[in-house]
Symmetry: C2
Subunit: 224 residues, 2 copies
């Protein structure tokens, strides 16, 4: 049967479109950024340290694989993750990379002293502690990302403002800082600064995507 070969080729080719879309480091970074909330091309280009032209080209590829959506709002084009399924895929490919690639595992353990993610029970007890006020959960991402989605009982304090807002933080309690996820270093820097200032700070390598609360359409208020 030659016909079933043609059909199979067609099917695998379609799946490979997703693979191709995720075969570029910068495109993966754009996906992770969009997992934090919707953004303009300029914002994405800035956060990923690339030119707007290049960001636009990469976003074009992501859009042609239906992984992201965009629409125009005034002068800006707003991009967002198409689907919660995309967020889950990003976590899935990242987990596989961490599982299979020693280079990545080593680079991650160098970043933080305890690179492990929290178990569901750990998460629950962290939420409880934060609710009671026994720990302070600090979201050090830009305010817009905090507004799009944040961890339960988290308080927003962007890394740029941290140094000037230290007075707002308690000295007795443990401060748990998080940012965009394990590949984002803002929380690492925040913890370093806080420790220097005598605070009891620890780093949470997970972000909103890992907690399953990433936004999809925050402006309209739908999170499907």
């Amino acid at each position: 049967m030659d016909k079933s070969r043609r059909i199979k080729d067609l099917l695998y080719e379609q799946v490979a479109r997703i693979g191709k879309a995720s075969s570029s480091p910068k495109r993966l970074e754009l996906i992770e950024l969009l997992c934090q909330g919707e953004k303009t091309v300029e914002g994405l280009a800035h956060d990923a340290s690339i030119s707007m032209k290049l960001a636009s080209a990469h976003l074009r590829v992501l859009r042609s694989a239906n992984l992201v959506e965009s629409d125009k709002q005034g002068k800006n084009v707003i991009y967002r993750i198409a689907n919660r399924a995309v967020v889950e895929f990003w976590i899935s490919i990242r987990s596989l990379a961490e599982d299979r690639l020693v280079e990545l595992k080593m680079a991650l353990t160098q970043l933080t002293s305890h690179p492990k993610e929290l178990s569901p029970q750990d998460r629950e007890s962290l939420v409880k502690l934060a609710k009671k006020g026994d720990v302070v959960v600090l979201d050090v991402r830009p305010t817009s990302e905090y507004e799009a989605a944040h961890l339960p009982y988290a308080q927003s304090m962007p890394i740029e403002e941290l140094k000037s807002r230290l007075a707002e933080l308690p000295h007795g309690k443990t401060i748990v800082a998080y940012c965009r996820g394990p590949y984002c270093l803002m929380a690492v820097d925040a913890v370093q600064l806080l420790k220097q200032q005598g605070f009891d700070a620890i780093h949470l390598p997970e972000g909103v995507a890992e907690w399953g609360m990433a936004p999809v359409r925050t402006i309209i208020g739908i999170t499907s």
Copy 2:
């Protein structure tokens, strides 16, 4: 900080290695084939309808991303999936493709009348029926793949032998045929043949990978 940019680039580059490995249709097909059990280069080349040289080249890429392992047994080199995590990733990228790409969704609905996968409850009741003997679950893949792993209470009857072994099948009961997964058409053909012969046959689009029972090291008998 320019240092954190360099670290980030390094991290995303590693994840992109997985994306690159899954950016070729033939490599994805090789992964799916290896999810059925370990195979030689020749066997893989045959099943994927490519030359042995090309199969070798693709397997080299998969191995350099640590997604597959190989070792030599006599004249042959046996390849196998590195990890259960790889099986899960294959299902994950395929699901995302089916979720996001209309072309794939349409091609799949054309293949079978009811392309939906079974819910966990459906699976449970299918196993119960098969256990009681009320339905016959037919594995139409090659015998070696059946031996590597198969669905509970499934009976092996490779598609090539099916026509000559029809006498072994009961006429009153429903026959549920499955193969390598939704992209493999052997079970579709089997159901067509069985229906022509007056059997009550239905197609199960899922395979062992989807049921979470894919093998990793069948020859040594370890399935970690």
